[in-house]
Symmetry: C2
Subunit: 243 residues, 2 copies
């Protein structure tokens, strides 16, 4: 392979939540490509780098840009929030990479919102869990509904990504209604907003209360499993140890 | 709160895969408590610290040790591999913490094997996914079976933890047989061994082949969803972008 492209998960935003490996990959790169919001979260140590971007929904173009810059001989990093392989650009880069056989991809994992949000709320994913996005931009709603039902039937802890947006203000409500077909109203739930950024906020509530909560697109929502308890304000999925 | 205890996820093992926050918490601590294997993975920068441990299966005692050391006035970190809140000690510490109201817990997330292993294999969790442990030490096998069936019915990407041990040599085979009731034999799968440690190895295969593979307890197994393809030797869960 002639060129290597780093696909870097930056974690939730704060530099202290990046791994050493991620920072090193960005430092090694000539050009850092990413969604503008993520680039703006990078600290001063990256000031000298070339930054390139495309608007939201222009992910295909953003990925092509990586290969085109690499072919010019530049060292390239694609910056993703959270983990590059969780609703990030890793898979799309592999797909487009078929057209650029001289380029190799190295994925550098980061902390995804399921795990960084869980840490803030306590330990809601401390047993088997599912991660589901409520965005239907690329996934039919029927598929999302099927996964919500499966997650409830398996008694998983659940992390919900993209619970709301301007066009989908009622998606969390719809999701909760589906979950309530199988899960009791009093199930311990919660959410984390602006994880690793300004204005971090956590809320715990029951599933019934969650149904009518207003959340924004910077929120990650957690549904406990049947053994999740609220302990001193924290969501805790018990593992079953005998005390 | 008089005392704070850090619950630290170290990621898979290599220091470069730890976050800055995790390293800082360990550096700030007087005593680092953990399972011996994890303590042995820590680098030279922690040489001056007091290390305390208990054997495997003595997790309750290990957690109590944290509170007892904190009550002596020491700054304590509980070290977990991967993420402290994914099959780690976070939830047990919250449970035991009820008895120590003067101690507060701060969970510092790390990269769990689902995400670090996925990065090595390509992008097998790049859409909705489940994480399931095959260990039946604390979970009845019937519950594990129910979750495997739910994961298959929801067409999730799946990461399997603890796929084997001396006493459970055939558990991966049993799990694959359950998945094969709903998933085709040719489904793209794979596994990663010794992630972030000496002897890292990745393998890709079909679900039918996976059924008869020998894996060890340092392996994380991945089952693709219905849109997962093998591209240039990598497992890629396509998100559905139009190219």
């Amino acid at each position: 392979m002639e060129h290597n492209i780093y696909v870097v998960g930056m974690g939730p935003g704060a530099e202290e939540m990046m791994t050493f490996q991620a920072v090193k990959a960005l430092e090694d790169s000539d050009v850092i490509i990413g969604y503008p919001v993520y680039l703006s979260l990078l600290g001063e140590r990256f000031t000298g780098k070339e930054f390139l971007s495309t608007p939201m929904k222009k992910e295909v173009e953003r990925c092509r840009m990586c290969f085109e810059e690499a072919e010019k001989g530049k060292k390239v990093a694609m910056l993703c929030s959270g983990d590059a392989g969780v609703y990030g650009m890793a898979s799309l880069l592999y797909e487009i990479g078929k057209e650029y056989p001289e380029c190799e991809l190295t994925v550098i994992p980061g902390i995804t919102a399921a795990n960084s949000g869980a840490a803030l709320l306590g330990a809601p994913l401390n047993h088997d869990y599912c991660v589901i996005s409520l965005s239907d931009l690329l996934t039919p709603w029927e598929q999302i509904e099927k996964r919500l039902k499966a997650a409830a039937s398996g008694d998983f802890g659940i992390a919900l990504y993209n619970p709301s947006s301007h066009k989908r203000a009622d998606y969390l409500k719809k999701a909760c209604e589906i979950l309530l077909e199988q899960i009791e109203e009093e199930r311990a739930c919660g959410f984390a907003e602006n994880i690793g950024r300004e204005g971090t906020r956590i809320v715990t509530c029951t599933l019934k209360e969650l149904k009518d909560m207003q959340v924004n697109m910077f929120t990650t929502v957690f549904i406990g499993n049947s053994r999740t308890e609220l302990i001193d304000g924290k969501l805790v999925a018990k593992r079953g140890y005998h005390l």
